[in-house]
């Protein structure tokens, strides 16, 4: 869910784009009408009547004049056409302003005193505060100009009008030239061709304004219109449904393959949804991987559910794109008019909230909006505010969980795990807030807090565990690929004066992204002596071949493989393969999540794994608590033992 800053920016851009499209359309229509009028009217007819009509509708002028140079008196301009007609045949002196306009300038005036534009004997027609728009226009073989006036004291012409007039001026002059030479067939033919091209372009613009060019589906503007019309047509008590369909993990398709595959998938998805809806339903693509479906007529919820279920099921079937077999799914939210919204925007918003619920809970499912979705959304907004406040107020702390070397009998390092102390002083684990913090862009700030807390924790941990331990800090995939953040983080780690005591835990997702992590950031981390650990190995996307491209220090086997490993031959086989891989690549291997004696016994006796992290040894705790706990729970496994390798190891192995 984007934060409001992004939303505001997107809306501005969309509005701007829509405005531009509307503007271009208006301009083209104006130009076409004027050209058409000039080309089609008989030589004896007034060529200006149609031009004036077009200009009036766009510029809302009160008076208009066409002036041309007088052959016999270049210091004067003659009005050859005007509305009201009484202004025709008046003579204007060619002042500085009109000279500039004759030379090609399009301009608007905000006041006229000193502008030398008043016609002789007609000063009252052009008051000091009468807004005017001037544009050059060649009439046949003579230089001339158009003056559009608005009532004195009224709204003036703006920069948009000037830009529009600039385009009109060029084409109108060309049209007059062609009309002047209409006997010359070639020019007329050229002009007709130009007209036709403009008509095509007008059609294209109209299409672009209402349809998505990739899928050919209605776009955001058109679906809003369609929903509005459908609501207007409803009988009293009538209903309709709006579904918000969002593809799951679509970004990965673009990232892992390329945008042409992503685009082809969107086209295929659009076609598949189309095949599974009724003739009266309307499907639109409103942005990237987001589709909106208007379900009308709506008899009851069961009927809508059957359409949505059909779509969801069909989207789960494989797509064959450019020789690839792709799987996707769509999370869908559904809202009902009038229960959940009176208009398109309200329906889209509630359907979006329901879709977000579906995506958070079970991707590829549908959620129908109800009060609980609304409440959850409000709760999430509350969480967002609280997280921002927590970052501001420094309410994040750091817990540490040891990584224990079961072969040498000593703690080699710790994983730093952030904790949020909420406003009720409850300690909240990352699962409660980390995704939201990432969406809000707060993760970098939190990581910096973790780094600072870890650096301070050495002073508490070192007396017991020795000065050679390392602390691992988790880095999200998005963070790891953020050049600037990573450069700053590396500098901050180096600034602690003990860079080699830090290790960054990255996910498999980071490893498979070659740029910029592998090519730029990883070499810098190596150069600075900062360790690399691949976290949650076995749950993500990495293939063994990708791992050969990366020089990491440590591979952390996900807890899913360690839990009850003594009873699961399949996990045992996978673990052995991972061990071989880590050994071949020279990486240490850490078993995460060991909790029971039986799991420990298996690891000790049937694997070569040295490092274990899990509740068996200690839960994540604040540094001081961990020291106290360790002294009590594992009194023999303290720093003093490290200096006594022979005696200590024997004793410790026995203890384990």
């Amino acid at each position: 869910m984007p934060d409001t800053e992004e939303l505001r920016e997107s809306l501005l851009e969309m509005s701007h784009e829509a405005e531009s499209l509307r503007g271009e359309n208006t301009q083209l229509r104006l130009l076409l009408d004027s050209l058409q009028a000039l080309l089609t009217c008989d030589p004896g007819d007034d060529p200006f009547a149609a031009i004036f009509a077009s200009l009036r509708s766009v510029f809302r002028y009160s008076e208009i004049l066409v002036l041309t140079e007088d052959e016999n008196c270049p210091e004067h301009l003659t009005v050859i056409a005007a509305e009201p007609a009484g202004l025709a045949a008046t003579i204007w002196e060619t002042g500085d302003l009109l000279r500039k306009v004759l030379a090609g300038r399009v301009t608007a005036s905000v006041y006229n005193e000193g502008a030398e534009t008043a016609p002789e004997g007609e000063e009252a027609r052009l008051g000091a505060s009468q807004p005017a728009l001037y544009l050059p226009m060649r009439v046949g073989d003579r230089r001339g100009l158009l003056v559009l006036l608005r009532p004195a004291g009224g709204e003036g012409f703006d920069r948009g009008h000037v830009a529009l007039a600039r385009r009109f001026s060029l084409l109108a002059s060309a049209a007059f030239a062609a009309r002047h030479a209409r006997e010359q067939e070639k020019e007329s033919a050229d002009l007709r061709q130009l007209t036709e091209r403009l008509r095509v372009s007008e059609r294209e613009l109209a299409y672009r304004a209402n349809f998505d060019p990739l899928t050919g589906l209605p776009n955001r503007t058109l679906i809003e219109e369609k929903v509005g019309e459908a609501i207007d047509r409803l009988q009293p008590g009538g209903r309709l449904a709006l579904a918000f369909i969002d593809l799951d993990k679509f970004k990965q398709v673009n990232d892992f393959y390329n945008h042409s595959v992503g685009d082809a998938l969107l086209v295929a998805v659009a076609a598949r949804i189309q095949q599974n809806i009724r003739g009266t339903d309307v499907l639109a693509r409103i942005s990237g991987d987001e589709f909106v479906l208007l379900l009308t007529p709506y008899e009851n919820l069961g009927q809508a559910q059957s359409v949505i279920d059909r779509i969801i099921d069909h989207l789960k079937k494989p797509f064959y794109i450019e020789g690839l077999e792709l799987f996707t799914s769509a999370s869908t939210g559904v809202s009902i008019h009038p229960d959940h919204g009176q208009d398109y925007e309200a329906l889209r918003r509630t359907a979006d909230l329901a879709m977000y619920r579906a995506k958070s809970h079970t991707k590829g499912s549908a959620v129908y909006f109800d009060q609980s979705v609304g409440d959850a959304s409000a709760a999430r907004m509350g969480l967002e505010q609280k997280l921002r406040a927590a970052l501001r107020d420094g309410r994040f702390r750091c817990a540490f969980q040891p990584k224990f070397d079961i072969r040498r009998g000593r703690v080699l390092g710790f994983e730093a795990l952030v904790r949020w102390i909420d406003e009720d002083d409850q300690v909240r684990a990352p699962g409660d807030f980390i995704d939201v913090a990432a969406e809000l862009g707060l993760l970098n700030g939190i990581t910096r807090i973790v780094l600072a807390a870890s650096n301070e924790a050495f002073a508490i941990l070192d007396p017991l565990f020795g000065p050679d331990t390392r602390i691992s800090i988790n880095i999200g995939a998005k963070q790891a690929s953020d050049r600037r953040f990573m450069a700053e983080l590396i500098e901050e780690i180096v600034a602690t004066g003990q860079a080699s005591r830090f290790m960054l835990e990255i996910t498999e997702e980071t490893v498979v992204e070659p740029d910029p992590f592998q090519t730029e950031i990883l070499p810098e981390l190596r150069r600075r002596g900062i360790g690399i650990s691949i976290d949650d190995f076995g749950t993500g996307y990495s293939s063994f071949s990708v791992l050969t491209d990366i020089t990491a220090d440590e591979l952390k086997v996900d807890r899913a493989f360690i839990t009850a490993i003594d009873q699961r031959p399949r996990s045992q086989g996978i673990l052995k393969a991972m061990e071989s891989l880590a050994r071949a690549l020279g990486m240490a291997i850490v078993a995460e999540g060991a909790e029971t004696e039986a799991e420990m016994a298996y690891l000790r006796e049937h694997s070569s794994i040295g490092l274990v992290q899990g509740y068996y040894f200690a839960k994540p705790m604040m540094a001081a608590d961990l020291v106290a706990y360790w002294r009590q729970r594992w009194p023999d496994l303290t720093g003093e033992q490290w200096g006594l390798p022979a005696r200590g190891r024997v004793a410790l192995r026995t203890a384990l």
Partner: protein, 408 residues
């Protein structure tokens, strides 16, 4: 054809710095028609004025002092720098005029604009853009005066001159000389067109309240008094304004409520906002920077507020202020009729308060702007107030960022 170049030099002696600029200007071989000039308060006005009249006698010049240096396509510069952004545009028209704000700042602004149009050789014409630099304090009056001439039919962009310690050492400069309580107006008719953007980097936190009383605001030499708008907010929702505001920002001002005093530095990340316009139901906020807590528990601000206005508690963060500068520059370039590809160079106005908040990451702001201006020449000043156009309305705000892009 529009050519834009930036030149910045730094040093303690004004004459030496100008000699450097002179050399660079000569090497560039340009004949500028229009120039922006910004400098640190330490520099000598008379030396600058002499240099301008000797070196750029036919160039329309606008600018003034900036807080803590400036930024350019090369780097971030210190408080002893002097910078020029010059524009050579044979087919364009540019005119500058200067006036003391005087008793009636709106009337001064109106006359200055008429003079600037006259100087551009375009009396009565609607410019492509109006750019202003003025002494801080009466920005709304100045905009009102300019709007009397052009309404909102063309954008009014600019900044309020700044010094190093909010001690009234700011100056405004034009070819006519320097002033400390004046206004310089430029009317621009560039042949390559312009693009512009005006945005803040702050988001609402959720808290809001209605201004229920503002302080009496003497206006002008005749002491005209109005109680409905001003720069002193006495109460919000009928409670002392400072108390309400302090509650919104989590007690950040606890230590200052009783004694009062300057809170500019404390509140840079937590300004107030006014909902100025809406796009599809999403509000656009104009920022108001609280300046002091008054003895009576009110707040003075850097922008005028009206009774009945809903004030929103806003929040920013450093990274957003860094990123936003680049995005404003990108937006201005994209708004050029020929798009980013037609960009010749640009000008940034970046709030000095934001600069203070961003602190040592300011070089990153300069780099971000440069990247978004595609490495084209630009100059940026740091101001005590920003003027710009939001959804076709010309407004004054605080803690804002504006960018102006010149088309080639």
């Amino acid at each position: 054809m529009v050519v834009v170049r930036s030149f910045v030099a730094a040093g303690a002696a004004t004459a030496d710095v100008l000699a450097d600029l002179d050399r660079n200007l000569t090497e560039a071989g340009l004949s500028p028609h229009f120039a922006y000039l910004f400098y640190g308060q330490v520099h000598d006005d008379r030396t600058l004025e002499d240099w301008l009249s000797r070196r750029l006698p036919d160039t329309a010049v606008i600018g003034g002092t900036t807080c803590g240096g400036m930024m350019s396509d090369q780097q971030l510069w210190g408080a002893d720098s002097i910078g020029l952004l010059v524009i050579e545009d044979e087919a364009g028209d540019y005119g500058v005029a200067a006036r003391e704000l005087g008793a009636d700042a709106a009337a001064s602004a109106e006359q200055a604009l008429r003079d600037a149009l006259e100087a551009a050789g375009c009396p009565g014409e609607l410019p492509e853009l109006i750019w202003i630099y003025q002494a801080p304090g009466r920005e709304e009056e100045v905009i009102e005066g300019l709007r009397r001439v052009v309404g909102d039919n063309c954008p009014i962009i600019g900044g309020s001159a700044a010094d190093e310690a909010i001690a009234g050492q700011w100056r405004e400069i034009s070819s006519a000389g320097t002033m400390s309580d004046g206004l310089v107006v430029a009317a621009l008719f560039p042949s390559g067109g312009v693009g512009y953007a005006f945005q803040g980097g702050y988001e609402p936190t959720g808290a809001s309240g209605i201004v229920t009383r503002v302080g009496f605001q003497p206006s002008g030499g005749e002491g005209v008094v109005t109680s409905s708008r001003g720069r002193q907010i006495l109460t919000i929702d009928n409670e002392p304004a400072a108390e309400v505001y302090n509650r919104w920002i989590g007690g950040l001002l606890d230590g200052k409520l009783a004694a009062g005093g300057n809170i500019l530095a404390d509140t840079t990340m937590t300004p107030l906002g006014i909902d100025t316009a809406q796009t599809n139901g999403v509000p656009h906020y104009l920022l108001v920077h609280p300046e002091t807590v008054t003895a009576g528990g009110g707040l003075t601000t850097f922008a005028t507020v009206e009774e009945g206005t809903r004030l929103f508690s806003m929040r920013g963060d450093r990274q957003r202020l860094v990123d936003r500068a680049g995005r404003v520059a990108a937006r201005a370039s994209a708004n050029l009729a020929g798009g980013q590809a037609s960009l010749a160079g640009g000008l940034m106005v970046y709030c000095a308060g934001c600069k203070m908040a961003v602190g040592e990451e300011m070089p990153e702001v300069a780099a971000e702007v440069s990247r978004n201006f595609d490495g084209r020449p630009f100059l940026g000043c740091f101001t005590f107030g920003e003027q710009g156009n939001v959804l076709d309305r010309n407004l004054h705000g605080n803690l804002m960022i504006s960018a102006l892009a010149f088309g080639a």
